[in-house]
Symmetry: C2
Subunit: 203 residues, 2 copies
């Protein structure tokens, strides 16, 4: 759909009482099920039981919904690195805090992180999100490299590859984790630390 | 598109000389780029520069191409477990051989493994592939549990969760690995073993 089509809301921005957060949650669910590009505004209004003008009351465009969801996921992940940097002088401690925190954000914001992981850069909103993901990766890679120079993290694995592998494992959780299922969310973060930092082999 | 439409090749099954393997490779590339469901036979013939009847010369249907590609990936992965079981009496050795072998198969068969990882069960071919993936996961989980009972793999992580996490890391490689890029394919398997089994933390 064209931006222009969506960007021209009529004065009648109907149906107050439908919560903006709820509209966002339903839209992100539909995006994740059908793919963002394949989802039309008609698909969204059908899923929401809203008219187009009622949808425009909350958001100016489909792309504005995407942007909000991606920012929500990215803000959460960046906050984890900010917090780790503020709290832990040792880089290896920052790394542990980041793994734990990223798993926490992934589970707390599962739909928006899932959407973020599927972004391929087909629009300016998406390329901006990809750039923020790259910056995030680079910050974590720098912390991992610093932990290697501290001597607390082995240095026979390239820091950028190690970061990709750790986040590959963390992100893969969106493929199978279901809220309320048998896997405890707090335990999952500890399990990922046990596997990636401590190693599965008995010491 | 309907199966029936594709399943009724005309007698004129033209253009010999176009290699079946090449047709398969191009089709899998198109499936990975646009999604299997979104790809029409017209998309395939356009990408191949073939007529429909020439395509039918090689394959009876779009779904037959998908099936062949998924079987290729699954056969490779299952062979890794078969080989590990034949060669290594210790479960922890089998686990190492499986991680190394699975990374090798993923890189050697990158397009068909990528396709396999995106299958969501929208047809019988896909549900069969998902069942084989589940059986594979269960075999690896049983080996990991046996390695825990040997005392060589830590038992404070659930075997099924550990298997999912390790394969989450292995499978995430399809998102960024590019043949001929800076990351050495043999080294990558060793890196994944260093991270998951030995652990990144210096011992």
């Amino acid at each position: 759909m064209s931006q222009t089509e969506l960007g021209a809301p009529t004065p009648k921005r109907g149906r107050p009482g439908y919560d903006r957060e709820q509209v966002l949650a339903v839209a992100v669910k539909v995006f994740n099920e059908h793919g963002y590009d394949a989802t039309s505004v008609a698909d969204l209004t059908a899923a929401l039981g809203l008219t187009k003008s009622a949808l425009y009351h909350h958001f100016d465009s489909k792309s504005a919904i995407l942007e909000l969801a991606l920012n929500d996921a990215l803000d959460g992940l960046e906050q984890v690195v900010d917090d780790a940097e503020a709290r832990h002088p040792l880089a290896s401690d920052r790394l542990r805090a980041i793994v734990r925190g990223a798993v926490h954000v992934l589970i707390a914001k599962l739909p928006s992180v899932t959407l973020l992981l599927r972004v391929r850069g087909n629009s300016e909103v998406e390329t901006t999100a990809l750039r923020r993901r790259r910056d995030f990766d680079q910050r974590v890679t720098a912390i991992l490299a610093e932990a290697q120079s501290e001597g607390l993290i082995r240095d026979d694995v390239d820091a950028a590859v190690a970061t990709r592998l750790i986040f590959g494992m963390i992100n893969s959780v969106v493929e199978w984790y279901r809220p309320g299922g048998p896997v405890d969310p707090d335990e999952l973060g500890e399990d990922i630390l046990r596997v990636t930092l401590d190693g599965l082999q008995s010491r």
